[in-house]
């Protein structure tokens, strides 16, 4: 009912190569048509309901479709990189949580920005990034969070004055500065990721939505910059985040802003996790939503009836 795919350029490892066919795999014994595969749709066929029961991810209840149903879920390069690095380390006997980059987390969740650009032509001085973080559990310890913004290469030369340029990140409608970066308008104009620490912004859990705001502001000239001062007081031009490479229009998925949340779960038991997911499904009146093996004779009746469970 939903697809995961890894872009062809994403991996050279054998393991990940084997996952590339997820995007155009067979559904049961029925081969998808190329169009169906490309659009990520499930072909209309008998047994769809049963298949939904079997193949629903843990915690996803019947009738609760994912927001992007039908859309292809493309793992971000950064997440693929994390997986590759840590799984290789594991095979070498190194615990991934020892890596400094992992912040000793055992779970790393990525959230893609859902915000849209302001279509007006006025300079964009503030940009809001929106994330649906409702799947984060407050039972897990939050050990880190970072906002990764891809800055496209601005047109050269910038033509901006020689004074520092500050990028600041705030929670929306809040004066709390989460993190800041200083750009050199006269420096190299390479594209790349700007990473902001937003842990403080996520700490008062639980969150449903997280809104972060990027602001740009001119800094003061250094006292030693006599050349610039000698040219007299000059009003810097209004800043536009689009011209700095932060516009969101016409941006490939791999360049969209990414919120990466690092958590540490004390739960070690997959069965406990399954049981909790199943419990929440039952609470929502969707008993039987845990996926049974696809080869099971009757996935619909995979779970015992309430009477059988009582006896058990």
């Amino acid at each position: 009912f939903q697809q995961a795919s890894i872009s062809s350029s994403s991996s050279s490892s054998t393991e990940l190569d084997s996952t590339k066919d997820v995007g155009n795999r067979k559904e049961g014994k029925m081969q998808r048509t190329p169009q169906e595969s490309a659009e990520g749709r499930t072909p209309p066929e008998h047994g769809l309901r049963q298949k939904d029961l079997r193949r629903r991810p843990p915690g996803q209840h019947q009738g609760q479709e994912p927001p992007g149903r039908g859309l292809r879920v493309v793992p971000h390069e950064y997440m693929l990189s994390i997986y590759k690095t840590y799984s290789i380390a594991e095979k070498l006997g190194i615990n991934a949580s020892f890596f400094q980059s992992s912040k000793s987390a055992n779970t790393i969740t990525s959230f893609v920005d859902r915000g849209l650009d302001d279509l007006s032509h006025t300079p964009l001085r503030r940009q809001k990034y929106l994330f649906d973080v409702s799947t984060l559990s407050d039972k897990e310890e939050l050990v880190g969070a970072e906002l990764r913004l891809y800055r496209q290469a601005p047109p050269t030369p910038w033509g901006l004055p020689a004074r520092p340029l500050h990028l600041q990140l705030f929670p929306c409608l809040s004066p709390l500065l989460l993190d800041a970066r200083t750009l050199d308008p006269q420096g190299p104009t390479q594209a790349g990721w700007e990473v902001f620490d937003v842990w403080q912004g996520l700490r008062p859990q639980p969150w449903k939505q997280l809104c972060l705001e990027l602001r740009a502001a001119w800094g003061e000239l250094d006292a030693g910059d006599t050349g610039a001062r000698a040219r007299g007081p000059q009003q810097p031009p209004p800043l536009d985040l689009r011209s700095l490479g932060f516009g969101r229009r016409v941006r490939p998925p791999q360049e969209r802003a990414l919120l990466v949340v690092f958590t540490r779960s004390q739960r070690k038991n997959l069965f406990t996790e399954m049981h909790e997911q199943l419990g929440s499904a039952e609470a929502a009146g969707a008993e039987g939503s845990w996926p049974a093996p696809s080869g099971s004779p009757d996935a619909g009746s995979w779970l015992p009836s309430p009477g059988r469970r009582r006896r058990r």
Partner: protein
């Protein structure tokens, strides 16, 4: 018990395999979990199989309880079952998957691969 029922009618030392680690190849695609698991789509989990009979070998790292139970079983098989051949060391694997909110998640799942088997 399952092992005994499968092999109970057979006799001789060859059928009484000692407790050891055996292959168990897990294919998430065959389990129908490839809709939410991105990688890995398969891995080697291993499993433990074999009998824990007297005398227990040291590499099976038997607990004191298992030694006593095995001894009692050897003296009177009808009164006490043999101790169990189970995983004694497990290691995690990394899984990249899609959660209920369509977010891509990396998670390290503990106790997914059997590293060694023993009698308990």
């Amino acid at each position: 018990t399952a092992f005994a029922s499968r092999h109970g009618k057979r006799h001789g030392k060859k059928s009484r395999l000692r407790c050891s680690r055996k292959p168990l190849h897990v294919n998430f695609k065959e389990l129908g979990w490839d809709d939410w698991i991105i990688a890995p789509l398969e891995y080697e989990a291993y499993h433990c199989e074999g009998v824990c009979d007297f005398p227990l070998r040291s590499h099976l790292e038997p607990t004191n309880h298992a030694i006593i139970q095995t001894l009692m079983n050897s003296m009177d098989p009808g009164s006490t079952p043999p101790s169990c051949c189970v995983p004694t060391k497990l290691t995690p694997i990394s899984i990249l998957y899609i959660d209920a909110g369509n977010n891509v998640v990396y998670k390290q799942y503990e106790d997914m691969v059997v590293e060694s088997c023993g009698c308990r």
